[in-house]
């Protein structure tokens, strides 16, 4: 039978702001937990971003840094008063450095039930080239 979900899962890790900068949004920002696996000819990044849908996630690729930015709306329960809280709702941010073998033009992303999946196919193996040396 399946093991119980480990307690490590419970706490959210907050993003450390870059030195000398502050966040402009009022809510907290967390590092989403991620799994990365490699299958056949692609890498798959699976990240937990509960509360985020396809319209509130931004994925950018600059040089070889892939950044996930996901935004959540603060939860306001009309007419209800909070009794107790074990988790905070906030945005998500995480960056990954891609290796050169990833085909940048073919990256795809899907989101379902608060889980973001990024598919990063590898480029066809770079042709080995032989450089001939001429006597000068």
């Amino acid at each position: 039978m399946a093991e119980n979900v480990t307690t490590m899962e419970i706490e959210k890790e907050e993003v450390a702001p870059a030195e000398g900068t502050e966040r402009t949004r009022e809510c907290a920002c967390f590092v989403p937990r991620a799994d990365i696996y490699e299958v056949d000819d692609q890498m798959v990044i699976v990240a937990d971003v509960p509360g985020v849908d396809e319209d509130s996630v931004e994925i950018t690729l600059e040089k070889n840094i892939l950044t996930i930015n996901a935004f959540t709306e603060p939860v306001e329960m009309e007419g209800f008063a909070p009794v107790f809280a074990e988790y905070e709702v906030g945005d998500y941010q995480r960056s990954f450095k891609l290796s050169d073998e990833i085909d940048r033009d073919k990256i795809q992303a899907t989101i379902k039930d608060g889980v973001l999946r990024l598919y990063l196919p590898k480029a066809a193996a770079a042709q080995a080239r032989k450089i001939s040396v001429k006597a000068g």
Partner: protein, 146 residues
């Protein structure tokens, strides 16, 4: 001599008491402190006169795999978080997300109307609305003059 031995600890006790009092005072005014959940998933609870609202972040769990049970005045949320089914030859570079069964039980502060309980699941967030049972709602008693 006796006098002195008595005075010193008493002063520290007084300082301690003062500090505790100050901490309590500030806790009351600050934003609600987020406590660590004893087990997965973490819950947030809201309430009003009409009932209770419980939310939990359970990303990656299919709505069919979540069970919401109310027995008497206890609410139980349980389910299974399944890993991606990997093809042969796949290998993990990094694994931070947990998988497996989970279950959380919450003692409710009042009886709830079981047929009216609503549970929704959207973008990995579970939302359970538990309306308070009619007979347990606070009632205003009219005071008649005799």
């Amino acid at each position: 001599m006796m006098y002195r031995r008595y005075r010193v600890p008493s002063m520290w006790r007084e300082m301690d008491r003062l500090q505790r009092e100050m901490n309590r005072l500030f806790e009351d005014y600050g934003p609600m402190r987020v406590r660590n959940a004893p087990s997965y998933p973490a819950l947030n609870v809201w309430s009003n006169d009409e009932g209770l609202l419980v939310t939990a972040e359970v990303p990656g769990v299919s709505p069919d795999d979540i069970e919401v049970n109310v027995i008497g005045e206890t609410l139980t949320l349980s389910g299974v978080r399944k890993p991606d089914e990997l093809k042969e030859g796949a290998r993990y570079h990094r694994q931070e997300r947990g998988y497996g069964k989970f279950s959380r039980t919450l003692q409710l502060p009042f009886p709830v109307s079981v047929p009216k309980i609503e549970a929704t699941f959207k973008h990995g967030v579970l939302n359970v609305r538990l309306p308070r049972a009619e007979e347990s709602k606070p009632r205003k008693i009219a005071v008649k003059s005799a």
